[in-house]
Point group: D2
Chain length 382, copies 4
């Protein structure tokens, strides 16, 4: 496939750093593509961009260098020390392609100007490497819930509002999505933030005939839930309650445990469970910030269900994962699949990528096995 860009919003975060480091490890053959869906034999003939056809740049608003972040991730057990050493020069190259991103607190002009600057950064990157296309993936921190505004429903109204000095009509993730589309790039939302999911931005995507995907990468508790829930339903076992607790450290723990931020995350998780089980059940869910866990994420779920003649039974599981290790390969997968979709002329929501997301666009299918079948079918038809 032609040279392809992967532009990361939040390019210096844990997920981005792991994805970038891993990409170079894969390229040099010092690591196997564990955790990469696109490397399964099912997709061998899908015409996806090869590892060495992917070029990476991105936006961020923090300035810790990539290799420093990679070292920290090595100490946390996410990346082997030897891999960091091996790819250090390549990290410096990517470093030179990271531009300062948008944040309301550090931006003086209008949101229109901010978006214009972001789009220009991406366009310059595409030109520099002569890229056939650039897939923009948002892997920045989860945003607080942003209030709905009338301007979100209409592209013209939105753009007028964005041009008004002092107005903050969009959250940063949506400014990024707007900029990506304006730059002619497919957009993928790996977070539960609003991103492209506003009628006005969907209108823009259609206008520009661009595909988009999202949202909220399915990497831990929800991955397991979307696997297990169909077991209960296809066996006719009535789930009565499904309680969950998530313990996470790192920046994510701090961001998500905060009630306001968690709002979007919890909502996104809840929607899926009700759909999977065919109705609402008692489903208390918590996200706790436990800093000493570092990059680890521990989820405990307790499922109470009713079997034949009303007998009560239960299942519980504990998931102990490294979120960045689980998310990073999916980011590379999404870049590859979305690039192929764009190359094939697909536009609008990529419902066939639901396999990757907690809250998939364009479909109500949450069952993991069905999502995988659809992904295979779709990729074969590309």
């Amino acid at each position: 496939m032609a040279p392809t860009g992967l532009w990361l919003i939040g390019a210096r975060g844990s997920v981005a750093t792991t994805a970038i480091t891993g990409l170079f490890a894969l390229r040099s053959g010092i690591a196997a593509p564990a955790g990469c869906v696109s490397a399964l034999r099912e997709f061998a003939d899908a015409g996806l961009p090869e590892w060495d056809e992917l070029h990476v740049g991105g936006h961020d608003i923090v300035d810790t260098s990539l290799d420093k972040r990679a070292e920290l991730l090595a100490e946390s057990g996410v990346i082997p020390h030897r891999v960091v050493e091996a790819v250090r020069p390549a990290l410096s190259d990517v470093e030179s392609q990271i531009r300062y991103g948008y944040h309301p607190a550090t931006h003086a002009g209008t949101q229109a100007e901010a978006a214009q600057k972001l789009a220009a950064d991406i366009t310059a990157f595409a030109r520099q490497y002569d890229l056939a296309r650039v897939v923009v993936v948002n892997v920045s921190s989860t945003e607080p819930v942003f209030p709905a505004l009338p301007e979100h429903d209409d592209l013209a109204a939105l753009e007028a509002a964005m041009a008004v000095p002092g107005r903050t009509v969009l959250p940063p993730s949506s400014v990024a999505a707007y900029a990506a589309l304006r730059a002619g790039c497919p957009f993928v939302d790996f977070t539960p933030s609003r991103g492209v999911r506003l009628p006005a931005l969907e209108e823009l995507a259609r206008q520009r005939r661009l595909p988009y995907a999202g949202s909220d990468g399915k990497t831990g508790e929800t991955l397991v839930r979307s696997t297990l829930a169909p077991m209960f339903t296809t066996r006719g076992l009535a789930v009565r309650s499904w309680a969950g607790t998530n313990l996470l450290g790192g920046g994510d723990g701090m961001t998500l445990a905060d009630a306001e931020h968690a709002g979007s995350k919890l909502a996104s998780k809840g929607r899926g469970l009700a759909t999977l089980l065919g109705g609402e059940v008692t489903a208390p869910l918590h996200i706790d910030n436990v800093p000493d866990l570092g990059e680890q994420k521990i989820a405990w779920d307790h499922v109470s269900f009713e079997g034949f003649l009303g007998t009560r039974m239960s299942m519980q599981f504990t998931w102990t994962g490294y979120d960045s290790s689980l998310a990073a390969p999916l980011v590379l997968d999404l870049a590859r699949f979305t690039a192929a979709a764009h190359a094939a002329g697909q536009e609008g929501p990529l419902a066939s990528l639901a396999f990757f997301f907690k809250d998939p666009v364009g479909t109500a299918e949450h069952r993991l096995a069905e999502q995988f079948s659809e992904l295979v079918r779709w990729a074969a038809a590309l």
Copy 2:
């Protein structure tokens, strides 16, 4: 559908008693069909026999009465007391249809004679109720592994050996399967015992154009494994070890914890896991007899897997179920599906019923979601 017989080998065991009690509870509307796959809306139009079209009889070698067994199961939490009271008269009716089964220790004649007697019992039952067909389901205790003999490979040789006084050429489960087929009945093996799975008996089934299904009902740990394993493989996560411990009380605990008996059970569980994961992994597995658990079965599994860049992660689950509550509705499901298959003229191994079994005949498909899809597709085509 026409009146259909359900003939249970082990008709006074926990699974059989729960199934029979439950059938009458469903028929009278005092219980919902929780745990019944065949009651899902996906099978509403499959033309399955209705609850009141099923007539039950069976063989057993113990003589505790059905209503006594039902009371014991009520005390163990498997059946509500009020349900036992409500169906007590119906249990007496079934009681009168239970015949003494075959056991080498209590049988004086040849195995041929034993089989003839068993077949005659089933035929008499079919005539008494004017049944269109009788599905024979083996729910008796798991047998010790039976040695392979040359006679197992050829029907004529087998029948010759069965007629030799003093020879025990078949385990009881296979004598039962032989008798069922000779009586013109489809046979379902809900246990891991040898049953119909011998070339000579498969030859007989083909000769008589009878369908058969099995083996080893998938009700707990293996159910979860066949659900979870595909999550790891479709995500490219390399499972490194999958350890399991089963604690069970009841008669089952005693039978299965015994090394010789467990042989067949553990083998049946192991085969599935390797197939699901695409290769062998370290997978220690134990079955312990813990009498105080009564009818409860507790399984703990620990899965260690490798993600991106070799990061080690893990998942563990604890399953707390009542085996009889999980198995009983599946026995009813299998009677209904197998009857419909027979009515539709199907013969040989019913691979499409793999959804119900740990060690399915006629297919290597162990993934639960794919098994369900196949079941739906197959039932729609009946």
Copy 3:
């Protein structure tokens, strides 16, 4: 020992009903004293009142009859059906000794008048059975946190305020404690409610030379925590975080999951953990209402700790208990121990009963083993 009264505040609740039913089962010998600390051989010579020397009465504001409550508890698995049947006549006797309790919403007069009425009820009960003493135990629902008022610090000021029409200067638990003390009775707080723990009431206890104990019965997660935490500290293992989730149904789930009510419960749990570990650690804690669990209470705790050279390790546990089954025998124990303390002339906070409580009065000792040693030592000296 002389005939002793046990007066229960919340006499128709789950804990009280289980305790009363159990007392009669113990008296008639149809149950063994499982879960009863006072029945251990360590206390055989402590001169505690025998089961048939305990007479029960109490206050409540609901009017579901005791035998109806016992039946519901039987259906929930807390009490065997046969036990309910066996003690039904005795429950009616107790029924006749339950008086309407105090609640601000249903009481018209002053709190002084309310207390007077409550005290008179207890006194009448004591006279009727010619009791040497009556131990009052609060097992009613956990109250919302009650604001601190200046009158709480001084008995005279408190009594003056209680006499002012329309003033609600005390929460119901403290009105009950006041009434008990005024009636010359030792008071035990089995809940985290304020109860006797106000300077003014402690002053009254001293004046009347009465002992009191509390608070908040230690029956599940905290019981385990007070057992496990010393393992980490005596081994020099530094606990970095201790996260907990509680799932409970029943009325308790509803009451405690409510943020305001949980306030007192969570505070009481948190204090103990910090004391046990010798300092604050990250310790998120949740109580969720999961109605389908009925009387069951499930707690999951995850402990992350640091060993030699900073290595990170973890332990997690799941506790599945019936709260009423765990609490009820302790209520009987407390009645017996507190009666013996009173008979021995002890007064003020009974720190030696810390073994029973999450938030013990008069001591900072939270380690279960040390609490038990102290209990044994104290009882031997009675």
Copy 4:
């Protein structure tokens, strides 16, 4: 205190390497004494040898160098990389004090000669560093069960048999214990091997007025069991079953999963549980070799217990630890406490060190809290 030797049998194993590396890290102040019991403030005045008063040597029969072992342990997450780098020179010094140990397969002469050689090694070490005493600690791999022989009961008979060419009258651990005692050194058995626990060797210890301690370091599942079991007994809760599964990698996994070797380990674990619970309960226990876990050890225990009126409840826990991280500081603790005991003139079994062992010599006390109290009391009296 005077310069003290610590002589390790199995000096190049994981536990020894971690202990040695850690000792130097503590000495240089780059690590805190996490996991060290002897560093608790309770023992500040016990007059134990300081970290820089401990000198290390030992026997082993493998020749991987200590710093190579330390590097492997760093990759397994047991020792931080920076610590290995910091103590590398010190490891070389210890390296020069490791002598070839005894193994029947590589030793040509009599066991008497073997013991003489081992004793001479220790004596030379003591002289070289002018040590007041040397504590010998066995941290080598668990041995298979060794048959009981009449010679084990009498020192003279034993020594006669040891002098017979070709006779293997003692397992290696007991040869090491014999050599230690002959060299005038206290002996500590950190493994479940036979070691000093033979009447003949106990006779020798008494003759030489030497103290000894053991056996089988309590580092994981049994540590938790000895903590939790008293919770059940002091609350009067009747434990009905206590099932356990251990998953371990490393060399230990291979050694212990082997049925013959596990014999001694499982026996040692089982004895404790029955003592703790005051009687036998159903307690199936497994040790599985799961190589991919590396140095990690995972234990799952399920406890089923009976409360008030027979209600069934349960508790389960999962322990995820690094065995070497848990064992190593205890080895240093035991060297310090045993040296102090020897200095104080104590001889025979050190029952007061039961806190450290699964199968303590000289006492039937298995309750962790009581063991700690005893340790504190004993150390204060030294």
